[in-house]
């Protein structure tokens, strides 16, 4: 049958409608409908380390870092309108701060990671502050420059271990702490972020994204809110960096590598932009895939980009929005 003779009809499932309000509490099946996907995600993430071997547990750790970055990217791009192509800046700053605190003062990871998360986010926010007035491609390119320039500056000044980096940082006591720490943080960050974007600040940020002049006309300081958004995204990213430097007990220039900027973007597009869960899901799919392709070296970046463009052109809604639609709606073809 030719395409023009039929169309796709979508209807909300009745249970979706019934769980829309307070009535969701009226029966177990309805509560189950709401809880199942959320609890499912948490349980799968929590169970994964139990079935994987040591090597893949490590991969899971780095997937968690990428998931955090992707979450931050999605938040900035879809809720604040700031497309940040320089996620590596967050990783680099967080990693360098915690690594330096650890190697210079000998403070344990328990102290350095929170410090690096907080102060790293502050540093990143200050670095990005002059560019926050920019929009669209201007912000994108300036943020893309920062990780590259950070590398140049570290080499030029010869500080922080220069090109060799610093080795011998404290690592975590065992693999279970490593893997459950990052999974816990991913889950907490994910749900906190979902909560955050439905609060007032989320509404204002979306307003800024759509029409910042209107927000400004309402007497709201646009730059102040953008600063907060960047701080929040940097907080997540810097934790990833601080965790990474302790995970491998090492810090170096590759903390500013392009992978940290581009894989989260690919994960976000793959998972579905704006869904917040999607990017996390995308990161947990893409990272093991890239790990399996380790032998191809730089060709991995080409692969991420191909996936990215493919999803962008042929499945722009992304995996998560697709799954959500299937979960919430009936679909069938109907003759016109």
């Amino acid at each position: 049958m030719a395409l023009k003779d039929r169309r796709k009809k979508r209807l909300d499932r009745s249970i979706k409608v019934r769980t829309g309000g307070l009535y969701a509490l009226s029966s177990w099946s309805e509560m189950g409908y709401l809880i199942a996907p959320r609890l499912g995600l948490i349980l799968i993430l929590a169970a994964l380390p139990l079935v994987l071997d040591m090597y893949w547990q490590r991969v899971l750790c780095s997937a968690g870092i990428f998931a955090l970055l992707a979450l931050g990217f999605d938040f900035l791009a879809e809720y604040a309108g700031l497309v940040c192509l320089g996620g590596a800046l967050f990783i680099g700053v967080g990693g360098y701060i915690s690594g330096l605190l650890n190697s210079t003062f000998g403070w344990p990871a328990l102290v350095t990671i929170p410090l690096a998360t907080f102060f790293g986010a502050a540093v990143c926010t200050v670095i990005l502050l002059p560019c926050l007035r920019l929009r669209g491609i201007y912000f994108a390119i300036v943020s893309f420059m920062f990780p590259l320039f950070a590398v140049f500056i570290i080499i030029a000044l010869g500080v922080f271990g220069s090109t060799e980096g610093i080795t011998g940082l404290d690592s975590f006591p065992n693999i279970w702490v490593e893997v459950y720490l990052i999974i816990g943080v991913v889950v907490v960050a994910l749900f906190a972020m979902r909560r955050l974007v439905s609060e007032d600040i989320g509404v204002i940020l979306r307003g800024i994204k759509d029409n910042d002049q209107a927000v400004r006309a309402s007497g709201i300081n646009v730059t102040a809110y953008k600063t907060r958004a960047v701080f929040i995204a940097a907080l997540i990213g810097c934790f990833g960096g601080a965790y990474l430097s302790h995970l491998y007990g090492w810090l170096g220039l590759s903390l500013f590598a392009m992978d940290f900027s581009i894989l989260p973007i690919a994960a976000t597009v793959m998972g579905g932009m704006g869904s917040l869960v999607g990017p996390v899901l995308g990161a947990f799919i893409l990272t093991p895939m890239s790990e399996a392709l380790r032998g191809f070296g730089q060709l991995r970046v080409v692969l991420y980009c191909l996936i990215l463009i493919g999803f962008m052109l042929y499945k722009p809604e992304g995996l998560m929005n697709y799954l959500q639609r299937k979960y919430e709606q009936y679909e069938h073809w109907e003759e016109v």
Binding site: A77, E78, V83, L85, P130, C131, R133, L134, R135, G136, I137, Y138, A140, I141, V142, F144, M145, F146, L148, F149, F152, I153, I155, A156, Q213, M258, I262, I265, A266, V269, M273, G297, Q298, L299, V301, V302, C305, L306, L308, I309, M312, L313, P316
Partner: protein, 294 residues
């Protein structure tokens, strides 16, 4: 004197690099993040046409510029046309195209500073030899760059102000709907602007690359320079773009003379941040552009 001459050459290099990007973004509102990668791609094509197929140098240059125009056209036709108007997606998609080309070329052995493998890829200059101006020696290639840069800027100005195609490019930039009502085909015009922009990137590549080696890293640098010029100069303003190239060109040359080559990029980013703090709309940007970018 040396700073003056080499600063001028350097500035014209920036102008040549940026002019294609400014045309595409400033005129048609399509951010072509693949600009830098086309630059490297053309250099590579010219190199392999000359060295692998033993073609005449001039012919090779002509063919590879034509290829770059086709690549620009294809990028629009295959990828960007589906994403028109979605700024975020346009940025990410063209950036991804750029990465595919650059990292793909890196696999070909055009390694950057991360580890050099394979032979040096370098193009020969058009004319060997140098000339003495005052007490400084300048090679002919640099003079050719100056000549090309000046004539490209002049020709483009004439093109966008006095030809029908050029006028329709600017029409799309100012008001897409009104232009469409007057019979300007929006997609075709955007495609033309991307093709011209890419050809300009190619032209910049073949004139500038003989000064050094072809490396994948250059793609990122070119993109950054082009955007730096755009940011500093102000959007869509030719005067601003040229002024910005001179500001950056001289700032970098002077800082290299004073502190050494490693500080070049630090000065570049410092200039950008300074300009953003002092004049967020760029040196010659107007009020309208403030709304668009700030």
């Amino acid at each position: 004197m040396e700073i003056l001459i080499y600063g001028t050459v350097n500035s014209i290099v920036f102008a040549l690099i940026a002019v294609g990007f400014t045309l595409v973004y400033g005129v048609s509102r399509v951010p072509n993040f693949a600009h830098g990668s086309i630059y490297v791609l053309v250099g590579f094509f010219t190199w392999s046409l000359v060295n692998d197929l033993k073609l005449n140098y001039a012919l090779a240059i002509f063919i590879s510029i034509a290829i770059s125009a086709v690549v620009g056209l294809l990028i629009y036709r295959v990828v960007l046309i589906r994403l028109r108007g979605m700024a975020t997606s346009e940025i990410i998609a063209s950036f991804a195209v750029s990465l595919i080309i650059l990292e793909g070329l890196r696999m070909q052995g055009i390694a950057g500073f991360k580890g050099f493998i394979g032979p040096f890829y370098a193009l020969p200059p058009f004319v060997e030899g140098k000339i003495q101006i005052g007490d400084v020696f300048v090679d002919y290639q640099r003079l050719i760059i100056v000549g090309t840069g000046v004539s490209v800027v002049l020709l483009l100005w004439l093109f966008t102000h006095y030809t029908k195609t050029g006028l329709s490019l600017r029409a799309i930039a100012q008001d897409e709907r009104a232009a469409m009502m007057l019979g300007v085909h929006s997609d075709r015009t955007a495609m033309i602007s991307l093709a011209i922009g890419s050809a300009l990137a190619g032209l910049a590549a073949v004139t500038i690359l003989p000064l050094g080696n072809i490396a994948a890293e250059a793609g990122y640098r070119v993109l950054i320079y082009a955007l730096a010029v755009c940011i500093i100069g102000g959007l869509g303003s030719w005067g601003g773009a040229i002024l910005a190239s001179f500001v950056i060109g001289f700032a970098m040359k002077i800082s290299t003379a004073l502190f050494g080559a490693l500080w070049e990029s630090v000065v570049l980013v410092g200039t950008i941040i300074l300009i953003l703090l002092l004049r967020p709309s760029g040196l010659l940007g107007k009020q309208k552009e403030i709304e668009e970018r700030v």
